[in-house]
Symmetry: C2
Subunit: 337 residues, 2 copies
């Protein structure tokens, strides 16, 4: 409510959310932020650089200014510090490639059937949603999301603590891009990582391990996390952005497999979107539950109390909760004994 | 930038904009706000009422809480004052029906080709975009958008000023839902309105005139604003949410037709999204330009200086700019002499 009484502003802002998505997608497809970063600043100059219409560029750039991605001074558009860091290609933190995953038609199709998903209590697009065997979406995910996982993976490796010179046996379950295991290999020079995932996805993890120079300590365990023998014993089992796809009994099964694969004194490290008990804070964490409703049959953003129940019932001795600022994610450390 | 340095928060918030659209669409399709308004407040109670899954409702309602459409107290979801006013069906200001127009597949398709529209400088979906003859989208528009036009139409009628008991001849160009002309009929008991639009759209205006009890002073002029004789003379010509679809020369032609149809001392009243000269403020006004880029060949959110040029070149003597708070729209009053 404003001074004028109730306002429809939030309704309009929200219902037009898809316009924002499309504006940002268009800007990334035209590489507008990179172009502005090279000093082309007027609509005319930018349009020449990306073979677009000056009028089209002007309207798009004004819209991006309104959203906060650009600053406008007279006829010149300038990058904000955030846009320079994340949306211009020369930046090592460039996130534009994530669009290939975040806006993949399969995910969008899931959201377009959200009403049906609410009725059903899970994705309306298929029995399993995105969690199907060898779904190519996870290769797209592994390639697209890696830049975003750098910071959380480093924070998780720091969280593990301990003597960095000791040997460390790490199982990276559903490794995907492999960045979590790789971060442990980088931080712990004597760590050996075993990356478990479908073979097509492990190809991406292998590339990333090579790029990080840790290939000699990065072994592959191709297959499903449910059917493959996990081997071991390990000092650490990493469950990163994996449990949210499943219902509680399935999470318990995975937790039990982790327990069985751990050496005495070992720990499971779970990285997840873990909202407070109210399930609506922090916002960037809590809203992930909707993605799970839209895209999976039973997935969720579980609270710490729920993860505590899962790991305790699976036989873990105790659990700790750790926020990982500035990311929107949190960690649970579960102790075998 | 936050205390932590550059943040990708705006990128994530924006790229996921379509999720917000779909969440709000789902809530309206399930009539969730109306249900909560009747006192069903837990996910279980709401789910029973709309034959949905409690888990699905819980996740959707949490997401709507995060966005600010609901408040959550324990397990209870409550309407905000804004949601009660605009999103629960019993409210006379209910806006949920607007979704039929705002999310019509044709408009969404325009936005999905936004990159091409930026390249081309106009809609990528057809030569004319939504501005094609007798396009059925305008019937959907006329039905869906009427609730939103109530306030601006009243503000425009107030702006006209003058003696309310004098006769007033009003031409409502591209009348659509007819609400603008009807507001003049309501405010000026001796006003006669002539509503010009395509015949299929005028059916909606006629319904609304009947509902307002002004049918006897509401005449129809079926046809295109470009080809039909406008008749006259009129004291007022209303150009509401119409000029934004066209390029400047076309606007000038329409302004010239308005001038020719006006009696001496008559005025053209233009209601539009008219941003400041910087084209990025006020935000809710300025962002309309992107909709015109996506959906029309040449449309725009013109500034007051541009409208001044249009009406002056068409022969009007002078122009005044009027904001219409609390709406996001503005008016230009153009004087014949």
């Amino acid at each position: 409510m404003s001074a004028h009484g109730p306002s429809p502003a939030l309704f309009f802002e929200t219902i037009s959310g898809f316009e924002r998505t499309e504006a940002l997608r268009a800007a990334l497809e035209l590489d507008l932020f990179t172009i502005i970063g090279t000093g082309r600043r007027t609509a005319q100059q930018i349009a020449e650089s990306c073979q677009a219409s000056p009028r089209g560029v002007r309207i798009l750039a004004d819209y991006l200014t309104i959203l906060g991605f650009l600053q406008k001074e007279g006829e010149n558009y300038l990058l904000t510090p955030d846009s320079e860091a994340f949306l211009a290609r020369p930046s090592p933190a460039y996130l534009g490639g994530m669009v290939d995953f975040l806006l993949t038609p399969q995910l969008e199709a899931c959201f377009r059937r959200l009403t049906d998903a609410v009725r059903k209590g899970g994705t309306a697009t298929s029995e399993e949603g995105t969690v199907s065997h060898d779904n190519p979406i996870w290769v797209a995910f592994a390639r697209a999301m890696a830049p975003m996982m750098k910071l959380p993976s480093q924070l998780l490796a720091e969280l593990a603590g301990g003597d960095r010179q000791q040997p460390l046996r790490v199982l990276d379950v559903a490794a995907g891009h492999g960045l979590f295991g790789i971060a442990f290999a980088e931080r712990y020079p004597r760590a050996h990582i075993t990356a478990l995932d479908w073979p097509n996805v492990l190809a991406v993890a292998t590339e990333n391990a090579r790029r990080a120079g840790v290939s000699d300590r990065h072994a592959l365990l191709p297959g499903s996390a449910f059917d493959t023998e996990w081997g071991g014993p390990y000092d650490l089992v990493l469950l990163t952005n994996f449990l949210h796809h499943f219902d509680v009994p399935t999470c318990e099964k995975l937790a039990a497999r982790a327990l069985a694969a751990l050496a005495p004194g070992g720990r499971a490290l779970t990285l997840e979107f873990i909202p407070e008990a109210d399930r609506v804070t922090p916002p960037a964490t809590a809203r992930f539950a909707l993605t799970m409703l839209a895209t999976t049959a039973h997935g969720d953003a579980y609270t710490f109390a729920e993860y505590e129940g899962i790991f305790t019932r699976a036989g873990f001795a105790r659990n700790e909760f750790h926020p990982l600022p500035p990311t929107a994610q949190q960690a649970v450390v579960s102790y075998k004994a």
